[in-house]
Amino acid sequence: MDLTKEHARKVYQAMVRSRLLEAKFSSLYKAGQIVGGVYLGKGQEAVSASIGARLVPGKDLFAPLIRDQAGRTAFGEDMLDATRTYLGSAKGPMKARDGNIHRGRPGDGVVAMISHLGTSISVLGGMLKAREIQGKLEGCVGATCIGDGATSTGAFHEGLNYVAVEKLPVVVVVADNQFAYSTPNSKQYACKDLIDRAKGYGVAGHSVDGTDMLACAAVIGQAVDSARNGEGPQMVVAKLLRLSGHGEHDDGSYIPEEIRSSHYGRDCMEVGKQQLIELGWLTEAELGEWEAAAREEVQLAVTTAQREDGPDPYQEDWCALAGGSYRDW
């Protein structure tokens, strides 16, 4: 695809808003204000925003994973959804019944992830298959992000094989950030590069440097366009490094210094800023305005969520069924 100024700016602005929102979550976590854990996408914003920004809200489907605040933001998520969920407000999309990165709005095309990795691929496939049966598939794409660790699950294999067999317009973006929690890639997979697997599944494969913002926007954008144009499932493998622990409870001290100081240890935010400024697509002043607006948005979302009540266990109906008359306990 021809990467336009407008699209590159859209990707980067989502990255900026996401980084600032997550920085706030990190502070709130350290201040003991968060209910449960915090899982950041620091260092993975270019990959995540590139997928979210190329999807069309209201039409496409997105199944984010734990490091996809940037993709959610780019796909149009209101900051209140994230802050309400992290702060335990009963007004969040999960009504405080589930937390942090498990939030979703399945009725609006955002799948609510479960912690069992790889399971969203077949779910996306089923959503798209339903649209095919309903005659509404034309021009739709479903995309999901996962990590290197998730590629070792049976669900990943079954799901990717399924969407390949059915030739569904699915984009699977693998953020190969070199560590699944603390486990290095050498104990995760034996192929030279995860992109080698694309051929085995019969899907198109794309490799990209996950720290290179413009490359991510172009390559991942192209993968989405290809899926949309009827070229079947697309697999993108983005090489990078997560610039945080697995969650904010983890200092990531198992990541060796030589990897931190390697090419993939660079921050995609810095890279993206340089790229846009060099192209003349963004000025320092504009970036300052974006950041100021984002900070204000973050502050408003946090103060709003902080004023809201948490769930009331005495008002909870404690029923897991939509058909409440069939409850057994």
């Binding site: 019944r97 077949s122 298959k129 058909g323």
Partner: protein, 321 residues
């Protein structure tokens, strides 16, 4: 012309496809081949877009159904054997069954589980899995014992808004016949008094209802009148009907084909003891399969599961107390 239990499964799916365009069928070999048990014979010819073959990927099959349900469809997934649903277990209990509670978006999928033992089927084609899916919140678990229930409960299950685990018993597929599908109109969640009696209550479900009735007939000549309760659905479990029966008889035997540790029979006993201890004239009893994998040889298998002989033996102990 008489209809069988497997005819009921097939004809209910035919009716569901015919009357609701949101319904589709998904499973291994269910298309042109018509399924391992021919439960979908001829359906793909009639509805090629809504009767689809799946790869051998139970996790992805259920995941696909969850996705389609989010988009407004009513998927019916056929597990080739209930035993293989263990591979799709995660998607069922962690994704489908939690989804409504977590997100407010219901997942109206039906997972058909060809369940239970048949002679010579061995450890991996004989299992009864109703207990494990009942344990997790968020599923309805149906266990029809009659041709009419197989037909009506499958249709009713497909129409429910929650994930339904439909345990259809393979042993009943071909030998259990009926003149037609006419039933008594009992809704899901209501148990049936299959046989009235006054000396003891046997609570059973699925194929064990028929074994319990045979045991009751064996004891009839000795003057015992045994009441048999068919649970029909194990979740929700109709505790009221069970306790009403125990109020009449004072004695309870719960029979299930599943493994003995925990499970439906333990749940029945626990509820009766807790809520109706004062109605019991004898300690309640349970009878299940043995605590081993299901053996292959018919001679071993016949002793592994409860039989009319073992049920009547247990009843005699219960009546002698």
């Amino acid at each position: 012309m008489p209809v069988t239990y497997i005819d009921a499964i097939r004809d209910a799916q035919y009716k569901a496809l015919e009357t609701d365009e949101r319904v589709f069928l998904y499973g291994q070999d269910i298309g042109k081949f018509g399924g391992a048990f021919k439960a979908t014979k001829g359906l793909q010819e009639r509805w090629p877009e809504r009767v689809m073959d799946a790869p051998i990927s139970e996790d992805a099959m259920v995941g696909m159904a969850i996705g389609a349900a989010i988009e407004g469809m009513r998927p019916v997934v056929e597990m080739q054997f209930a035993d293989f649903s263990s591979v799709g277990f995660n998607q069922i209990v962690n994704n489908a069954a939690t989804h409504y509670y977590r997100t407010g978006v219901p997942i109206p999928i039906t997972v058909r589980m060809p369940s239970g033992g048949t002679p010579g089927s061995g450890p991996f084609h004989s299992q009864s899995i109703e207990t494990i899916y009942s344990h997790y919140p968020g599923c309805i678990v149906l266990t029809p014992a009659t041709v009419s229930d197989a037909y009506h409960m499958l249709l009713e299950g497909i129409a429910l808004d929650d994930p339904v685990i439909f345990c259809e018993h393979k042993f009943l597929y071909r030998w259990l016949k009926s003149e037609n599908y006419e039933g008594d109109g009992l809704p899901i969640g209501k148990a049936r008094i299959t046989r009235a009696g006054k000396h003891a209550t046997v609570v059973a479900y699925s194929a064990m209802v028929h074994e319990a009735v045979r045991a009751a007939e064996m004891l009839e000549s000795e003057g015992w009148e045994i009441e048999v309760v068919d649970l029909r659905s194990v979740k929700p479990l109709d505790t009221d009907t069970v306790i009403a029966s125990v109020a009449r008889t004072g004695r309870l035997l719960a029979v299930g084909e599943a493994f003995p540790w925990g499970g439906v029979t333990a749940e029945i006993v626990a509820r009766v003891v807790k809520e109706a201890f004062h109605l019991l004239d004898a300690p309640p009893m349970r009878l299940n399969a043995k605590d081993t994998p299901i053996p292959y040889h018919p001679k071993l298998w016949a002793e592994h599961r409860p039989t009319p002989e073992s049920i009547s033996h247990a009843l005699k102990q219960l009546l002698a107390y």
